[in-house]
């Protein structure tokens, strides 16, 4: 056994502690003080008339879980896309997967066209949009050889969606516009306690599935040709990986709005910390770091809420964008 194996475990252990610590801090962060017993009673013996119970069960717990799921899920989606497109700047937002989700959410919110007449209609729209745009980018990836060109195609898909959304906005009434604008600012508070089980199930299902691609993802580091020569069915594998990334992105975008840069910044940070290509460690690292990162951003929002109310995607972009510029400078200069 080489001595290297232990530091990996130590890093993962520290990451786990960090996530748990931040999650606990996040649960208690906010303008109202909620005690441990409030949390316990809210779950064990819920009282509709007790404000603290309502805050604990219907606001704090969904918010904390959603922060972890959104951070972890977008980071995992980013990691998958970076590996299958062999591009460190690939992520759901840049490559148009989340703009696809946004476009279909906008259509649902602004025109009322939907798959179902319930909250799930919005989620179905987001999933559909993410998958359609994921398929489009996968289609272009077959023809586009250079790394930069694919990013440009993704950015064009984003512009196309934005243009389409502004056309629909021009036709919409004030109430619909407000709904859409609030959604687009991003929030971790949109998920209800009743929706949590299904959201958790979909999230853990996709994470579970992604573990079955570790061998293929590792081989894909050497490029498509080499992976194929090592017995990997690259085409099928890429379709499944995009499907996983689209489900994660669609689900998270439907509830939290478009969150940019997180999917790009976190996997790169994790690669720098773990210095490995082994996707078993990278996936775990992305889940832990992504969850911690969004918890940290939201704790910042809560701490600043006395002075101003900030949308969550503004914070992630303000931290994420400089980091991404750092990655670009480090690589291409």
């Amino acid at each position: 056994m080489r001595g290297k194996a232990i530091p990996f475990r130590l890093k993962i252990f520290i990451g786990t502690l960090l996530l748990i610590g931040l999650a606990i801090w996040h649960l208690f962060a906010g303008s109202t003080t909620i005690s441990v017993s409030d949390f316990y009673n809210a779950l064990a013996d819920y009282d509709y008339s007790n404000t603290n119970h309502i805050i604990a069960r219907d606001l704090r717990i969904p918010r904390t879980l959603m922060a972890m799921i959104a951070g972890a899920g977008l980071s995992l989606a980013g990691l998958l896309m970076q590996t299958i497109f062999k591009n460190p700047l690939a992520e759901p937002n840049i490559l148009g997967v989340s703009t696809g989700a946004s476009l279909f959410v906008a259509i649902t919110l602004l025109t009322g066209i939907s798959f179902f007449q319930s909250d799930w209609g919005l989620i179905a729209s987001a999933l559909f949009g993410a998958f359609i745009f994921g398929t489009i980018i996968l289609f272009f990836a077959r023809f586009v050889r250079s790394q930069g060109s694919l990013l440009l195609v993704g950015i064009m898909l984003g512009s196309f969606s934005a243009a389409f959304i502004s056309i629909i906005q021009a036709w919409s009434d004030a109430h619909q516009l407000k709904l859409y604008t609030l959604w687009a600012m991003g929030s971790l508070q949109q998920v209800s306690f009743q929706q949590l089980p299904l959201v958790c199930l979909m999230f853990s299902g996709t994470v579970f599935l992604s573990f079955f691609f570790i061998r293929a993802l590792n081989a894909l580091i050497l490029g498509q040709e080499n992976a194929s020569l090592l017995g990997i069915n690259v085409r099928n594998m890429r379709v499944f990986a995009i499907l996983i990334a689209a489900v994660l992105t669609g689900l998270i975008t439907a509830f939290c709005g478009p969150i940019a840069f997180l999917g790009m910044a976190v996997p790169n940070l994790v690669k720098m910390i773990l210095t490995t290509h082994n996707h078993r460690l990278l996936i775990i690292g992305c889940l832990l770091t992504g969850g911690s990162f969004l918890l940290m951003c939201d704790i910042l929002v809560q701490l600043l809420s006395g002075f101003m109310l900030l949308p969550i995607n503004a914070i992630t972009s303000m931290i994420g964008a400089p980091f991404v510029i750092y990655i670009i400078l480090k690589r291409w200069s």
């Binding site: 460190p88 061998r215 081989a219 194929s228 017995g231 990997i232 690669k271 290509h277």
Partner: protein
Amino acid sequence: MIEFNNLTIGHHRPLAHVTIPALTPGNIYAIIGSNGSGKSTFLKTITGQQRPLAGNVFINGRNTTELSRSELARLVAFVPSRFPEAEFVRVVDFISLGRTPYQNSLGILSEVDKECVQQTIRQLNIRHLADKFISQLSDGERQLCSVARALAQQTPIILLDEPTGYLDYRNKRRLLEVLSLISIEMNRLILFSSHDIETLLQFGIQLLGIEAEGVSEPGKTQLVIIDKNIPFETTISHFYC
């Protein structure tokens, strides 16, 4: 063992007719010919990346077009001419990727896999490189690591596309020594493309050649086995115009 049955290689239009006897384990073969003559196409036809225009390739008696990707990965290891660019990949992990065809989808290395990787590192004497990142290697070290990865794949056949291309004289000789040793001691069939004819002849490597344009009638170009007794100058004029 690789056998050819009326094989014509090419991409859309035929490049060469393969008229060589079966290639057998324990031997090392090098294929020469001018740029674009079809050396890489020949190698890729054996790996299954390129379909034959006509005829068949049989590996250990099985038609390559009927083998699945994972079955082929356990029969043929291929080292492309371009070394992969990847970050944060240590040499030991790079060599471990050769074990991919034997892993389940979770990608966990078994004790057998680990032992095989360590054995390969010992055989090629690259212990000192094991913990380096592949992005830090020199061209000579890269080729050794690529060979190590192919060895760890434990296939009876190893193909290499211009492995001596970027190497200086000393590294070329070292690589050819290693390849010769592998073919004899481990009874592997090694086939690679190269332009270093003089060095290949010094090592006594069996040459295959694709005839140069104008040597035979258009459309009848052949991939042939080159007689070791033919003088160097004749070889050059026959295979490089």
